[in-house]
């Protein structure tokens, strides 16, 4: 019987290596992101103690937010829709609560920030929560971020979500 001593062609080998490399190139970025996402979720996003702080803030600020005379133009309609820090909420330190940066945002708003990590959190928030009628109080706790759903901060306002 005649043996087949040919083995592989160089071209065949190159094609196989190219295919395997392509598959690896697609798989690796997704797999490497898994742990990063998990770490963010477990250590930096929506930590329970931060959510309690936000809850306390939302209760304290509820009256202030609804009372326009108290905070003036700083809480105008625009500031609730566009994700801007209001004078009232910026670097708040009320009643012995931790000093954090607070944001109020309408859900439909295209929120973004220059802080890369915070921006990532905002994008994730937009992707994972859907409630077109809700507002969120978002807090920056240094490198940790958290948010809770709140009532419409100003029920009398006449502008719509998203401006």
């Amino acid at each position: 019987m005649k043996n087949n001593n040919k083995g592989f062609f160089l071209a065949e080998t190159i094609v196989v290596i190219a295919l395997v490399t392509t598959v690896m190139a697609f798989v690796y970025p997704n797999v490497s992101k898994l742990y990063e996402n998990y770490k963010n979720k477990a250590l930096y996003y929506d930590q329970p103690e931060d959510l309690y702080v936000l809850k306390a803030y939302s209760e304290i600020l509820k009256t202030d937010i609804e009372n326009k005379t108290k905070v003036g133009d700083a809480i105008g309609c625009k500031n609730f829709i566009v994700n801007e820090k209001t004078t009232l909420l910026d670097n708040s330190s009320k009643n012995g609560l931790p000093r954090i940066t607070l944001y109020i945002t309408g859900y439909m708003t295209e929120v973004s920030d220059t802080d890369y990590n915070f921006n990532k959190y905002l994008k994730r928030l937009k992707k994972t929560t859907y409630d077109s009628a809700s507002y969120r109080l978002i807090g920056k706790f240094g490198t940790r971020y958290a948010s809770i759903k709140i009532d419409n901060p100003n029920p009398n306002r006449n502008c719509n979500l998203g401006g």
């Binding site: 019987m1 043996n3 103690e49 304290i60 009320k94 012995g96 931790p98």
Partner: protein, 114 residues
């Protein structure tokens, strides 16, 4: 009678295949070790997260039910879940309760009251 193939493999082929298999196994073990390490670490982190959430909920519910004054250092958490109230402060309409967990880590509960 059919002629047998008595060629076998050469020493070079054998060495090359051993080298290739060794490299592959080396990478495989490295990956396995990394995954194992990550698993243990994430398991610990997840457990801490769950414990922290549970302790905060217990203390929060306790204050709602029995009041801040009734909050004592040892009688808040159930026997199957170890946590202790380390300190409590009531100032400017905010209850601040520091809770010590089983792993000696502290978590702070802030709660607004009228």
């Amino acid at each position: 009678m059919k002629k047998l193939n008595k060629k076998g493999v050469t020493l070079i082929e054998l060495i090359v295949s051993f080298a290739l298999v060794s490299v592959a196994v080396g990478y495989f073990y490295q990956t396995l070790f990394t995954v194992k390490k990550l698993y243990s670490k994430s398991q610990k982190e997840t457990q801490e997260f769950v414990d922290k959430t549970y302790a905060l909920r217990i203390v929060d519910a306790y204050i709602d039910k029995k009041g801040f004054d009734a909050l004592s250092k040892s009688k808040v958490c159930p026997t199957y879940f170890k946590c202790n109230v380390l300190s409590k402060v009531d100032a400017d309409n905010i209850y601040k309760v520091t809770i010590t967990m089983e792993n000696d880590k502290n978590v702070v509960l802030y709660k607004y009251h009228e």
